[in-house]
Symmetry: none
Subunit: 112 residues, 2 copies
DNA sequence: AGGGAATATTCCTGTAAAGGAATGGCTGAA
DNA sequence: TTCAGCCATTCCTTTACAGGAATATTCCCT
């Protein structure tokens, strides 16, 4: 959807942790709460945010709700980052920085 | 440094916009304020956050301060996303597996 | 139908953060 | 030295959000 939702959702440490947890496979709410040492209600609330952001999907299984990672938003984030890759792959900028750094250091070889 | 700072900084629309603006090259504060239709103080405050997160660097030039994009945090974010690439490249439906596993475990203890 | 387990929701409170307005600090020029 | 432009900081107010505790809901089992 919009990347703002994705970034906002991931900007919370516990939610980021949940996403990392789900990277290895789907989990029910209770397991997440266990592994992250969180209260169940907080986990449910975080999952709601992640779900609204499209970052997780849910499938009921009997008593429980199994949450799984949804990769679309991450792929979009990846695509967005892609537009910056050319920046850090561009040698010009870094070369310039490097030369300037070299120059200042060259003036005081022993310096500190 | 820590990705939390990066994500938090980018989770604000105006800051995200600033970063996108700087992707095309360094800019002084006033220009950023102009192009984003923001007040100068707000821009300075956002730049401070971005700077604290390591997302931008600054170089004074006479009267002005030229801000430029710093790509390290974005590269780290990219690396983090890399650990998820295998997930969306994976064609197996892990949820299905998990549900089947659940089902077989549920049947065992009491029989049927 | 009743009970228990797993999960979602609500209410409350504290805190962090964003925007607006005003101000302070530098820098170059006359 | 004084002025003017550019930028950073502070104060204030409002809003959003996270955690805790309690409660509602849904499902399975007997």
């Amino acid at each position: 959807m919009n990347m703002n939702a994705t970034l906002s959702a991931l900007a919370e440490p516990n939610r980021l942790h949940i996403v990392e947890l789900l990277r290895d496979g789907p989990l029910p709410v209770g397991d997440i709460a266990d592994r992250l040492h969180l209260q169940q209600p907080q986990v449910s609330k975080h999952l709601r945010v992640l779900h609204d952001a499209g970052l997780v999907g849910m499938q009921p299984a009997a008593n429980r709700r199994i949450y799984k990672l949804e990769t679309r938003p991450l792929q979009e984030l990846d695509a967005w980052l892609g537009s910056f890759r050319r920046v850090w792959e561009d040698r010009f900028d870094q070369l310039e920085d490097y030369l300037q750094e070299l120059q200042s250091k060259a003036k005081k070889p022993d310096g500190d």
